[in-house]
Symmetry: C2
Subunit: 522 residues, 2 copies
Amino acid sequence: MEDVNICVDGMENVKVTDKKEKKTHKAKAPKTTGGGSGKKEVKKETGLGLSNKKDENFGDWYSEVVVSGEMIEYYDISGCYIIRPWAMAIWEIMQKFFDAEIKKLKIENCYFPLFLSSTVLQKEKDHIEGFAPEVAWVTKSGDTELEVPIAIRPTSETAMYPYFRKWDRGHRDLPLRLNQWCNVVRWKFSNPTPFIRSREFLWQEGHTAFATKVEADKEVLEVLELYRRIYEEFLAIPVVKGKKSENEKFAGGLYTTSVEAFVPNTGRGVQGATSHCLGQNFAKMFEINFENEKGEKGMVWQNSWAYSTRTIGVMVMVHGDDKGLVLPPKVASVQKDADVQAICDACSETAKELNNAGFRAETLRDNYSPGWKYSNWELKGVPLRIEIGPKDMAKNQVRVVRRDNGAKEDISRTILVDQIKDLLDNVQQSLFDAAKQKRDACVVVAKTWEEFTKALNEKRMILAPWCDEEEVERDVKARTKGEMGACKTLCTPFDQPELPEGTLCFASGKPAKKWTYWGRSY
Amino acid sequence: MEDVNICVDGMENVKVTDKKEKKTHKAKAPKTTGGGSGKKEVKKETGLGLSNKKDENFGDWYSEVVVSGEMIEYYDISGCYIIRPWAMAIWEIMQKFFDAEIKKLKIENCYFPLFLSSTVLQKEKDHIEGFAPEVAWVTKSGDTELEVPIAIRPTSETAMYPYFRKWDRGHRDLPLRLNQWCNVVRWKFSNPTPFIRSREFLWQEGHTAFATKVEADKEVLEVLELYRRIYEEFLAIPVVKGKKSENEKFAGGLYTTSVEAFVPNTGRGVQGATSHCLGQNFAKMFEINFENEKGEKGMVWQNSWAYSTRTIGVMVMVHGDDKGLVLPPKVASVQKDADVQAICDACSETAKELNNAGFRAETLRDNYSPGWKYSNWELKGVPLRIEIGPKDMAKNQVRVVRRDNGAKEDISRTILVDQIKDLLDNVQQSLFDAAKQKRDACVVVAKTWEEFTKALNEKRMILAPWCDEEEVERDVKARTKGEMGACKTLCTPFDQPELPEGTLCFASGKPAKKWTYWGRSY
């Protein structure tokens, strides 16, 4: 069964005959989509889409599209957002995929408390240094001061690992592989942005322990591949798999791998998801030992890995356009209830036929003008719109309109199911191809500092030969600090181009050790 | 596909031939199940089950069984518990059922923030009075004091309803039906108990708004029926459906319905789940208005409803025995990874055949003595154990042992799948029947104060004629306050016995208006 999204519209053969004429109709009964300012609502009432343009004012466009597309509502606490059903359904589709995949890997779900004692939180020094400024503290219940303040988890390493110690006694208890779906809180930051940077967000966090490093290393990449699939197969977004630099790795871990996406409009990289090998560092702090077959003491090797609701924000940024959201068919989901009474039989039948074939089709609400309806469903990013008019009825066909490129096609109802399946596969692939083409067009190889700064000013994602020294990385960060924010390493791609003998680091002039992606980042 | 749990054990035809002899074996390699005290671990090493008896020391038995059965680990913050995979899997099975059912009702999932501003929290007076003492407050992030303290949700009415106001403009936007799966925090209380009373717990909370009271009333009962099904069909626990008294209803609501379970060992009722009609009270406070077809202003009718991880605790209390957990087949799930290498082919084949038929069967880990293994899987409540010995191999049969009553049966492998299905249905039904018989045996009708107090001392669930006056209810509470805790109304069952003309209230002597259940409660 495909998870897809189609809207079937039959208004034209009820009320209007000429398709072209209808498009200019004014909407009579706009549904208020919680868009906020009166200005935006007026805009929507005209059925003309958004008031901001993606290319002109990206930040405002993004805020408007997530609100008008009914994904997000701004909340009365800054940096917190309401995830509305239209976005939640996307999260659930990804969750269903990922949860089933990790269960195949014998990873079990559990739930650890939201709260951390300050004792465990502070156990790993680098870790707490990384997270301390962002931790929210509970100090009161009702009117009573707590004896000791209690932290809200920014991540759960320190909540879990004392119990890993308890549960890992012998090699038979290994590997220990747990995951939880939960909320986490990271309070302090600037520029809150829905999905991308919010004070509370939803994620899964996997935490595993192995007897050997080989097993841990293997899992890091297995999970990273699942993250790649979420981005590339579900969200139709190309990502680079690679390793984070020492400066950018997870606080307290051994090494971090990531999938890195790129937003061409802002020229910024986005860390899409991370899969960390923690090595034996936490095991040392939390004394997670085990006894092997020979009765010898060993120390476990640990991983942790996570992806979050940020995925949805990246999808909006990459695919959305001036008409609104553009949802890849695999994550699109109809959840609006339709009032089928006033919709013609042909629409209901078509929707029913498509639903029976495993698609998610929905007839549109009545009582709205075609212009408003088209605009609304475009805003919400539904991949295909099916129109049925009197001429279509006579020819036993339907007209299918693609959201991604506006292309129209008449399809005979006798072969509808197969054609729709092909068309949706095509939309999914086209979205990925278009995103990849745009992303690739932004990638620039820079071998010198001049080439590097020029590319950075052009908002590129820069692949540059690097000496792999932390000091040089910090220096680049300092030298590029400007209005747009500093440039940092995104990742060192696993897929390394050849590095000819004698290639020098673009920044230090020392011998280069690897190719690394650099850029500004969310 | 059934969700069931079977363990297939083939140790006997590898190492031992006489089944009876094996049962007295001492375990060689106990797996430390995180049981806590050394005493318990010694107990488990003998393979003899728990150190506390359900009938002798219920509280200690309960704590021991949830820990030894690997459902819960006590956490370093009092009143918070770790939900381990064995319990999480039960939660997920119920969640899958309930989520699919509410989606059929066109209820959509969403996610509102964990945090509440004190302004919205205090908007509904009765509501905040009910929850204020339990609210946890965040006052600090990093080292910085927040300008205004922020509350952690004890429930989300006040987080959501300002946005219901925003989203409900016209009758076309109604009904508005949302649900979220999340954690909530209620800090202040005595006697924390895993699953039953914890400071943080997982639940779903549904929040809906309708144009008319008729629609709201209908939904209240539809959802209550789903809660009954969770208890009776999945957890095999009989419940009473009914209405809460004015004293016991949801703070700020119009009326509350509930499913009430009963724990015979302690003689206490348990509020299993609640479905509230909020009336127009919150709508008034939050100004949730809409315009009907005629352009007239109306005010919405609202419901909210929830069930939580408490369900799992009730299941443990009702079905568990001195050997450990007893899981109803429908919620039992094998998640332990099995090392199949040392397990005989017959076991693997049998497990494979059962898994292919839609059951969840698992071969047991090797390297443990049969005595320890039996004890461990009994502790964890697996509904059926399948043993295969040399004689069974010769006869092409297996021996099946039921967890609930210990009954053994030899089944030919040629008809295994059908027989196992029947047997599991039988176990599920038997558990419910046994629980119902025990519960029914605890129900007593009391018409006078003397009968009432006698029954209360005998730990009964009391059905009594009541005048329905709040003051009388408060008076009963005050008069029964003793070591065991006060008695209160559980619910007024929808299924009312006849109330003959002239029947008097057991407590006030005034004319009785209804039959109501009374008892001590969790």
